[in-house]
Symmetry: C2
Subunit: 146 residues, 2 copies
């Protein structure tokens, strides 16, 4: 149980909470290799003034630095929101073996555009802690409107 | 003539030559705003040990820093090779108004996967200095095989 997908998604959610507190769209991501967390990141598009600074992109870059390898073949990415096309493309290049996400993204999720963006060998697990991952996004956009 | 697409693509090609000399897959990109070059970049995936360090990604990040705005609404991206899905997604988020590329990428170009990755309002111009942009890639892969 300790190293379940839910366990790691909770840590990704903590990253999303950091983004929330910083006024960023609250998305968090971690990369796990042999049950070790090798990268943690949260969305930083506002702080870095950079549309490419999605949680997944930062986590992939950071994981590659930790491993000293640009390929993340035996690694899993946990992300609280379904990756967009850009992040789906980065996941493809990184050769991540497994991708797990929480909330689906009906508008910008890569699966709506083209599921084959991710490599067919990569395992995809959807909707882990879905309601918690959706809740933080709802809370953020409600706060934005008030 | 001075500020034609060919003029700016030649500068992107100079960036591709820098990548070539560094042993990187030779792709170069620049971002132009009101005929001013606000960012130049070349592929650095090997040097940075980072699959996300494509020329376009680095150019988009750099242009946003120069402008102090994460959106590149009135800017044009010149890139020597058709962007991949990841870079196509970044182009979407950046709201670039025009994208010009040199060589097409039959295998990994975003247009084969899904042309709608790029925003429908963005103008796309293909195959500017196509043969020069193809030639540097051929030269690189031939050198790699010897």
């Amino acid at each position: 149980m300790q190293f379940s997908d839910e366990y790691f998604m909770r840590i990704a959610l903590q990253q999303a909470e950091i983004a929330f507190d910083e006024g960023e769209i609250p998305v968090g991501a971690i990369v796990v290799c042999q049950n070790q967390i090798i990268a943690k990141a949260h969305n930083q598009t506002e702080r870095l003034n950079d549309v490419t600074a999605h949680a997944e992109m930062l986590a992939i870059t950071s994981a590659a630095q930790t491993l000293g390898s640009k390929y993340l073949k035996d690694c899993t990415l946990y992300v609280t929101l379904e990756p967009c096309v850009m992040c789906g493309g980065a996941i493809f290049w990184s050769q991540l073996s497994k991708i797990v996400w929480g909330a689906s993204d009906a508008k910008r999720g890569f699966q709506r555009v083209q599921p084959s963006i991710v490599h067919p060998k990569s395992r995809v697990v959807l909707n882990v802690l879905q309601s918690e991952c959706e809740e933080i996004l709802k809370r953020f956009f409600e706060k934005l409107r008030t």
